[in-house]
Amino acid sequence: MIPVCPTTALPPGEATRVEADEPIAVFNVDGEFYAIDDTCTHQDASLADGWLDGCTVECPLHASCFDLRTGKVSGPPAKTPVRTHRVVVQDGMVYVQTEPVADGVA
């Protein structure tokens, strides 16, 4: 498990990027934490820089939207889903498990 940050450092509506072999983006959606691969499957945008709307994040570059729960992409130009990761909250700290919980196939 990779420690991300204290829960208080990631308020609702915010996102942060965690450096790992493949960087991971962690989001707080109204108190629920989600983690997906940070790099957009279209080009090399960081999804943590994107636009969070409900449970989807819009890529900051070309506006493909990814579902944080499933990794599924809703529209072009990206065509491939992102991987999702399990988030664990323990003693006020947010952690992600690097082994993906799904390969993004929803």
């Binding site: 080009q43 945008a45 960081s46 943590a48 820089d49 994107g50 636009w51 819009e58 900051p60 570059l61 070309h62 506006a63 529209g75 072009p76 130009p77 065509k79």
Partner: protein, 390 residues
């Protein structure tokens, strides 16, 4: 017979319209007509990764496996040559016609060509996949490129060609490139990227003509200068593909005239994407927007109009981007002459900044260079600040 919607145009706007029809529960027949032989593909990479050879055709294909479920009838390599507004029939170049209950016009635009350049090898425009394939073949064998027009396409081609090791000169007739979309100050800042990366930029200079008998050899400028060239790319804008509608009775201007929801003057006919000039309440005129994001977003509204389920007119915040020399340029909003541009983050000298355009003290547009995170926040802010539709 089940009802039919004909989507005329098989690029992003046409594909998005077909998808939107299904999303909005239309279960009749959908026929998508495309004049190119290719299945829908994404155009922005044509001047960037695809031209550089780092992005494949497979990468830029727009259709996804899920699209199979949409049961679309594709008729590619088929050009629409006319529209009969009474019977709502689309006349095709093979002499047949397609009778439809609804028609989505999404025929896009084509590159404006330089008069007198016809038939000269080595002279290119860049709009279609075939354009990109033939330009790439020429670029990899060339040493010197002259780009006519320092707009976004011209700048991106120049940037890609520099990456391929060519010697590049860009010629722009206006004193400052990109002044229309970005304003003079910011246009000048973005144009500095050329010099940063060893591209020569000549501004305020017209082109007198091209030199060469079978193949282009040089570009001659109005001041008499001759720029030797192995390849010339002409990037001087686009013309909407609406000539085929000339006798249809569909109202035309600089594109197919529509209201803010995509409706034309003809019942059962809507228009979207680069061929459409939609009414803008903000600008108080019809505006033809050639942005990728408009081609993606407009169709949902136009399709709702076609199906008779449309709601209030949307107030989109136009958004476009350009990637040049590794710099990410993003712009959102509507800039007018007189708006005041102010750097709110970073600095132009560092090629990393965010600029806000203000009118009467209110932000109306935002420009970012290498600031995707902050840019996205401002873009969102502009969206939520957009006047609510009446």
């Amino acid at each position: 017979m089940s009802p039919t919607v004909a989507v005329v145009g098989a690029s992003l706007a046409g594909l998005s319209a077909a998808r939107a029809l299904r999303e909005q529960s239309y279960d009749g027949r959908i026929v998508v007509l495309g004049d190119e032989p290719h299945a829908p593909y994404d155009r922005p990479p044509l001047s960037k990764g695809f031209l550089a050879g780092t992005t494949s055709l497979d990468d830029i294909t727009l259709t996804a496996p899920d699209d199979e479920d949409l049961a679309l009838e594709w008729r590619l390599h088929t050009t629409a040559v006319g529209l009969d507004r009474v019977s709502r029939s689309v006349l095709l170049d093979d002499g047949t016609e397609l009778q439809a209950d609804g028609v989505v016009l999404a025929t896009g635009a084509r590159a404006r060509r330089l008069p007198g350049a016809e038939g000269l090898d080595g002279v290119h425009v860049l709009r279609s996949l075939d354009d990109a394939i033939s330009l790439r073949a020429d670029l990899v064998a060339a040493g010197r490129l002259v780009v006519i027009g320092a707009g976004f396409i011209g700048a991106e081609v120049a940037s890609t060609a520099r990456g391929l090791g060519l010697e590049v000169t860009v010629v722009e007739s206006q004193p400052v490139p990109l002044a229309a979309p970005l304003g003079t100050d910011m246009g000048a800042v973005c144009a500095e990227l050329h010099a940063d990366h060893g591209t020569r930029l000549l501004t305020g200079t017209g082109v007198a003509g091209l030199v060469g008998t079978t193949r282009v050899e040089a570009v001659e400028l109005t001041d008499g200068t001759r720029l030797p060239a192995d390849v010339v790319v002409v990037g001087i804008g686009a013309i909407p593909n609406t000539e085929w509608l000339a006798h249809s009775g569909v109202a035309l201007g600089n594109g197919v005239l529509t209201d803010a929801c995509g409706a034309t003057n003809t019942p059962g006919v809507v228009a979207v994407g680069d061929c459409a000039a939609a009414w803008s309440a903000v600008a108080e005129r019809h505006v033809r927007i050639e942005h990728w994001t408009s081609a993606l977003e407009q169709p949902a509204t136009a399709v709702a109009t076609l199906l008779g389920t449309g709601g209030p007119a949307p107030t989109p915040v136009p958004y476009f981007w350009s990637d040049q020399y590794g710099a990410r340029i993003q712009f959102a909003g509507s800039r007018q002459e007189g708006d005041v541009a102010r750097v709110v983050e970073g600095s132009c000298a560092d090629r990393s900044f965010l600029v806000l355009y203000e009118r009467d003290g209110h932000p109306v547009a935002v420009l970012g260079m290498n600031q995707p995170r902050l840019f996205t926040r401002w873009r969102r802010q502009l969206r939520s600040a957009a006047p609510t539709p009446r």
